[in-house]
Amino acid sequence: MSQQDKTALSENSALGNENEIVGNTVIIDTGCANLSSVRYAFERLMSDLDRERLFVTDDIEMIKAAERVVLPGVGTAAAAMTSLQVKGLDKLIPTLTQPLLGVCLGMQMLTRVSKERGNQSDDCPCLNIIPVDIDLLDTQGLPLPHMGWNQIKPNTHPIFDGIEAGSYVYFVHSYRAPISDDSIATAQHGETFSAAIAKDNFIGLQFHPEKSAKVGARMLQNFLMMDRTTFKKTNSKLANSQQEAQL
C-alpha cells in the first residue's frame, strides 16, 4: 500500500466511520489452543491498518492495555488452565474490565469448575468469573461429541446484534454449561444447554464463531465494535454498585 493510500485510510478512520475498530484487539496466547483459526477469522474482517492492531500474546501488560481481549481454547480444561497458570494469566483475567470473549474451551474456563477431568483425579478449578459449573453434556442417546451445525436461541446481547433465532453455528464439544441466569443463548442436543454465557464484560461462546460462516463472522464483527465503554453503558447495575463502593 502506498503512503498516500495509508493517509487516505487513516483520514477515513478519523471521520468516525461507524465500522471503525477502536484500539488494540489481543488474542491471549494460551499455548495449547489452536490460535490460527481465530486470528484468521478476525483478520478476514479487518483492514490492513486494523490488522496492525491485532496481537496474539501472553504479555500481561499488553493484555491489560487492550481495548478487547479474546480467550480461545481447544483441548482439555486441565491442560488449558495449567497453561494459564504457568503464564500467571489465571490471576490476571478475572481482573480485566474490557470486553473479553471466550471461545469454546475459553468459555468453559470462565466458570467456577469443570468436571472434565481428562487424566486427572479431580475436577478442574477454572477462573471463577461466571458462577456455573461445566459438566458432561447429556445427549440422551444422541452421538457425543456434539459435533456440527446446530441452531441457537440468542437473548438480547450486543454480541448477538443482527443474529436471528434459529441461526446455525458450528459446535464441537462434549462438556457444557447448564442453563442459568448467566445464559445468553441456548441450544439443544439431547438436553438444552448454554450456547453462550455472559457476566458484565465477560462473554463466552460454546460454539466456534470463527468456523460458523457468515453468522459467526457477524458475531466477531459485533465483538470488534465493542470497547471499554460498552458494558459500562449497558450494565447500570455494575455502575451503581461501583458508585456505591466509591461512596
Binding site: G75, V172, Q188, A213
Partner: protein
C-alpha cells in the same frame, strides 16, 4: 436440532486439487483455495482434503496450502492422508486444520488413536475406514492402504469390530467408506451404514456411492448418519450443493440453508 452435514471431499496433490475438477461454467484450474471457497459459499458444511501426495511419497513436502485454506475458509475442514505421527498431526492442526483423519496408520498401530486423542482431544481425531462386503462369507471387512492399488491388503478386522475398537481408543468421528459402491454412484450402502450406526456412539459420516440427491435423503433418513461425504457428484457439477440442501429441507431433513 443438529443439522445433517454435506461434506465435499477434495483430492490434493502438491497443493493443487486434482482429478479434473469441473464446476459448471466456472473453470477451476486446480488451485485449492478458490474451489474450497466456492464450496463454502454454496453451503458445504465442512470440507475434507485428502492429501494424496503424502500417502504416495514418503518425504517432507510443503503443507502451507493448509494455512492458505484456513486463512480464507470460514467453515471447518479436515485434512486426511499420510498422517502417521503426533508431529505430522500437530503440523496440520497448527496450520489451522480443524480435524485430522487417520486410516491405514491406525490399522498398523491402533494406539496411535489414543496418543493423538491425549495430545489434541478426541474432537479433532477422525478415523477413516475402508470397508468391503465379502459375499461368500456375508460379512464386512476392513482393507488397508487402499490409496495404492498395488499395496492394498486385507486386514484381520471385521468392520464392526474395528468400529468398536477405534471408539474405545478415543476417536471423535468415523468416516465409513464403502468400497464396493464407491464411484459407481449407485447410492450409499444403507444396510451397512445402519448396522454400523447402531454400534457407533460418535458422529458417523457416510462415504462412497452418492449419485443423486435422493441418495443423500435416503442415507440421512434411513441410516441416520450425521454427515454424507461425496466427491465426484460435486466436482462434476452433477449435484449443486445449494439445490441439494433445499431438496433435503423440503424432505424434512434438518440442514443448514
Amino acid at each position: 436440532m443438529l443439522a445433517k452435514r454435506i461434506v465435499p471431499c477434495l483430492d490434493v496433490k502438491e497443493g493443487k486439487v486434482v482429478k479434473g475438477v469441473q464446476f459448471r461454467n466456472h473453470e477451476i484450474v486446480g488451485d485449492i483455495v478458490p474451489l474450497a471457497q466456492r464450496y463454502a459459499d454454496e453451503g458445504a458444511d465442512e470440507l475434507v482434503f485428502y492429501d494424496i501426495t503424502a500417502s504416495a511419497h514418503d518425504r517432507v513436502i510443503d503443507k502451507s496450502w493448509v494455512s492458505r485454506v484456513a486463512e480464507r475458509i470460514d467453515i471447518p475442514f479436515c485434512v486426511a492422508g499420510g498422517i502417521r505421527t503426533i508431529e505430522q498431526a500437530r503440523e496440520k492442526l497448527a496450520f489451522g486444520a480443524d480435524k485430522i483423519s487417520i486410516n491405514s496408520p491406525a490399522l498398523t498401530d491402533p494406539s496411535l488413536i489414543r496418543r493423538l486423542q491425549d495430545e489434541f482431544g478426541r474432537q479433532c481425531i477422525v478415523i477413516g475406514i475402508d470397508s468391503y462386503y465379502n459375499a461368500s462369507s456375508d460379512s464386512y471387512w476392513v482393507k488397508q492402504f487402499t490409496g495404492d492399488e498395488a499395496a492394498t491388503k486385507d486386514t484381520q478386522w471385521f468392520t464392526q469390530d474395528w468400529v468398536e475398537e477405534v471408539q474405545k481408543q478415543g476417536c471423535g468421528e468415523i468416516v465409513l467408506n464403502v468400497m464396493n459402491q464407491d464411484g459407481v454412484r449407485q447410492g450409499y450402502d444403507i444396510k451397512q451404514l445402519s448396522m454400523i450406526r447402531a454400534i457407533c456412539d460418535v458422529p458417523l459420516i457416510a462415504s462412497g456411492g452418492a449419485g443423486t440427491m435422493a441418495h443423500f435423503k435416503d442415507v440421512f433418513s434411513q441410516a441416520n448418519v450425521d454427515a454424507a461425504l461425496a466427491a465426484s457428484v460435486f466436482h462434476k457439477g452433477i449435484i449443486d450443493i445449494q439445490e441439494l440442501k433445499q431438496y433435503l429441507k423440503d424432505n424434512q431433513i434438518a440442514v443448514r440453508v
